[in-house]
Structure formats: C-alpha cells, structure tokens
C-alpha cells in the first residue's frame, strides 16, 4: 500500500481488498476482494440488494467502508478522493443532469468544475460521434440520448477509469443499443490518440449487455463475491450435464465442482464449474444413468445457476 498522497501507477486499475460495509447489524458488503486490470471492462452483476451500488459508492469515495479498502486508478479511497476525481468518470444509477439545461450548458457547467483538465476537443469529437443535439434541453432528450449525454459529461476530463451503475436500467432495446454504441465510442475515443482503452466497471441486470461488452464478470450475492472470471473462460468452463436416470432413484451423487443441481423425475441436471470429461465419468460411475449429455450455457443461465447454488448451499461455495 502506498503511504504517500500521490496516486501510484498501476496495471491494476481497480482493487477491492477485504472490503466490508455494515449498515447497523446488516452486513451489506462482506469481505470483497478482487481486482480489475487496466484497459479492461468488468460487468458487475447480482440480484437486487446484492450490494452492487454500496460497493460502487465505496469505490468512488462517496461512502466509507466499515473495513478493508478500495484502490481506484492508483488512489486509495476515500483518503485520496480528490486526486482520484481527476482520474475517474462516474455515472450514478440516477444521473443528475439539470433538466432545464441544454446539452451545451451542461457541458459548460461540468467544464467549470474541471477547469483546465477539461478536454474540449475530445468532448466535441465524442459528441459528434454520439450524434447528440446539444441545443436541446435535457428534459426533451430521449432516454438513450440523455444517457449518452451523461456519458459524455463523465468523460469530458478524459478519465482513465469509468464507473457506471446500472446504466441501461429501464431502457427499451433501441435506447440500450444507443447507449452501448455510446459507451463503445467513449471507451475507444482514447484509442484514436494511441491510448489504451479506458477501464470500465459497470453494474447491470442486462446480462446480454455484459456478455457483449465485458472482458470479465464479477458476481455478487448477499454482499459476497461468488466469482470474478473472464467471460469467455466462465462460459467455456461452466457446463450443464443432463442425465436421464434408469429409475427415479432417491439418491444421486454429484461430481466435484458442482455449482447447482436439480431433479425432476428421471431427469437430473448438474451445472459444474471447470468442466472436464472426468465429471461426466463420475456421474456415469457413481449413478445409475441411462444417458448423459453436456450443454453449453448462456451468461444468464450461468448467473442463475451460480446464484441458485448459493441459495441452496448452507455455506458459500469456495471459488
């Protein structure tokens, strides 16, 4: 840990270390430890009340942790919050852009906060790519356009890290597409200047968006981290093994690495992590099965099975 007030340069852009937060007797975030490499996009997912927004608020320095720490762009939060402000862009779940302002007025307002750090050329170029009408008042913008304006305002000071809390919540498919395009545009805006992409952490319930945009996915459940893995690795190594039992026998023996299992009559489905043929052999060897097949899963299905597995288990599954 750096003891100086200067942010340390790091290949890790975001780091949570044994982060916990209590509200009264309720432990909302429980010993969270993981890190996000610079230049990558992480999708942060969990059920309502899982602790995502509390975690993000601690990350951006709006809430002090009960214990543990967060590092953001090399700054320890909230201690180095002022230094971090220059390095991060944050779009909260309910962006607060004054509705009576036009887009241009909102830009001028944010520019007055950031001063010389504000990058006029970047803002002009991204606004053009986003096809934003900056003369319109915010209250007259569509949901998608208002979200794109929030993004534009969040990157005007050219931050290296972008934090978004449920950015597409309540959007229809077209507004969501507009927003995804906007996020890709702002995230790659640095690339045109031979800069690596920004680091992005975004929480979402839209798992299709996470599958599209994220390099890695972190699943939070009841304040605890269930997993943090590259999306492709998670999808290629999590499989559902479907077995048809010879009889509706009462007992089944699940293989090592089982995340979740369910039984309906003779059909037994077992979702496993770190899939290998050994798990299929185990099922065949330890159970009386007539037939076994292996299915790929979408991110949505993987998420559901991991969360169901957590709900079933008396103790959290170690990852």
């Amino acid at each position: 840990m750096s003891s100086s007030n200067e942010p340390k340069s790091a290949a890790t852009a975001i780091e949570f270390s044994h982060l916990s937060r209590r509200f009264g007797k309720s432990l909302v975030v429980d010993d969270l430890t993981f890190s996000i490499p610079a230049g990558t996009t992480c999708g942060f997912i969990g059920l309502n009340g899982a602790g995502k927004t509390t975690t993000i608020r601690m990350l951006v320095g709006l809430l002090a942790p009960s214990s543990g720490r967060t590092m953001l762009a090399g700054c320890e939060m909230p201690r180095q919050r002022d230094a971090a402000k220059r390095l991060i862009g944050y779009v909260p779940d309910r962006p607060t852009v004054y509705k009576w302002m036009t887009g241009s007025q909102a830009i001028a307002f944010c520019k007055s906060i950031y001063g010389s750090q504000w990058n006029d050329a970047l803002v002009a170029s991204v606004a053009k790519s986003l096809r934003l009408d900056l003369d319109k008042q915010v209250k007259h913008l569509s949901k998608g356009s208002a979200a794109k304006l929030s993004l534009l305002l969040a990157i005007g000071h050219d931050p290296r890290v972008l934090i978004l809390d449920e950015p597409t919540s309540g959007f229809d498919v077209l507004a969501r597409d507009e927003f995804l395009e906007g996020l890709l545009l702002v995230n790659t805006a640095g690339e045109a200047q031979d800069r690596p992409p920004r680091t992005v952490l975004f929480s979402s319930h839209a798992l299709g968006d996470v599958q599209r945009l994220a390099d890695s996915v972190a699943i939070l459940h009841k304040g605890k981290l269930v997993l943090h893995e590259p999306v492709e690795q998670l999808l290629s190594q999590t499989k559902r093994i479907r077995a048809v039992m010879n009889e509706s026998a009462p007992q089944t023996v699940a293989p090592p690495g089982t995340v979740h299992e369910s039984r309906l009559g003779k059909e037994w489905t077992v979702t496993v992590r770190s899939f290998s043929a050994d798990q299929v052999d185990f099922i065949r060897g330890k159970n009386s099965v007539a037939q076994v097949d292996v299915q790929d899963l979408t991110l949505d299905e993987v998420f559901r099975d991991y969360v169901r597995g957590e709900l079933d288990a008396p103790e959290p599954v170690p990852v």
Binding site: L184, T188, P197, G208, Q211, L213, E232, L235
Partner: protein, 131 residues
C-alpha cells in the same frame, strides 16, 4: 454480420465463425481489407478486445494477414481454408442433429426422412438443387 449475445457460443467464437462464413461465401475476397477492430466493435456492439482476439485467432489460422498501417486483410488461401471450415461446421451441425435424433430414440430412416423434409422446406432448396 450479426452476433447473438443470448447464444451460449462465446461472442469471440461467433465472430470467428461469422467471418469465416463471410469469406467462404465470397463476401470478402483475398487481399480485401476487413473492417477495423473499432468499426467492427461498433457494428456488432461488442467489446473491441473481443474483436481483436477474434482477428488475431483468424490470423493465426491463416485466414487473415496483418497489413502494417492499414489493418487486416483476407489472405490468399483464405477462401479454401474457410470452405473447409464451413464444411466441418455443417458436418458438426448434422452430427448434433443425429445425436438429438438418437437421444429421442428415432430410427435412422426417420432421421433421414427429417433431413429430406427440412431440405424440402428450405426456401432455396429448388434453385440450389438445380445448380
């Protein structure tokens, strides 16, 4: 080119497959530049890192060649390679269909009949049969 985020096939793999099919179908000719990583990411609304990895994979496979300063182009041998890959893909789809038929305890005659029916129901079946 389209990808489906609700498909269990990882997006990286979908991009590799769609581009291979596009080359096999002649949408891109040898020497022709394919869209840049950024253009493709915006077109598909996916992470540029994923597009980059898919392009690098296709380069290692010999379908694409890197053109210094201008991007990625289709290699001279790409159409032949892509055709071979497409045949393997179609064969794999048939094998899956046969496995599903076997799992449902259908006879080979029934599965053959289903294949013919599917072919007859294909909108381009007649014209393709004549060629």
């Amino acid at each position: 080119m389209k990808i489906d985020p609700d498909n269990p096939v990882p997006i990286f793999q979908q991009i590799v497959e769609r581009l291979t099919e596009a080359v096999a179908a002649g949408l891109y000719s040898p020497g022709e530049l394919i869209p840049s990583v950024r253009q493709q990411a915006l077109n598909l609304l996916v992470n540029p890192n994923t597009v980059q990895r898919a392009y690098e994979h296709l380069e290692r496979e010999g379908l694409l060649v890197s053109r210094r300063g201008s991007g990625m182009a289709v290699s001279d041998g790409a159409p032949e390679l892509a055709a071979t890959r497409s045949i393997a893909g179609v064969r794999g789809a048939f094998v899956q269909g046969i496995q599903a038929g076997k799992a449902a305890k259908l006879s080979r005659t029934t599965i053959d009949g289903l294949y013919r029916k599917a072919w007859n129901g294909h909108p381009q079946a007649d014209s393709e049969e004549r060629t």
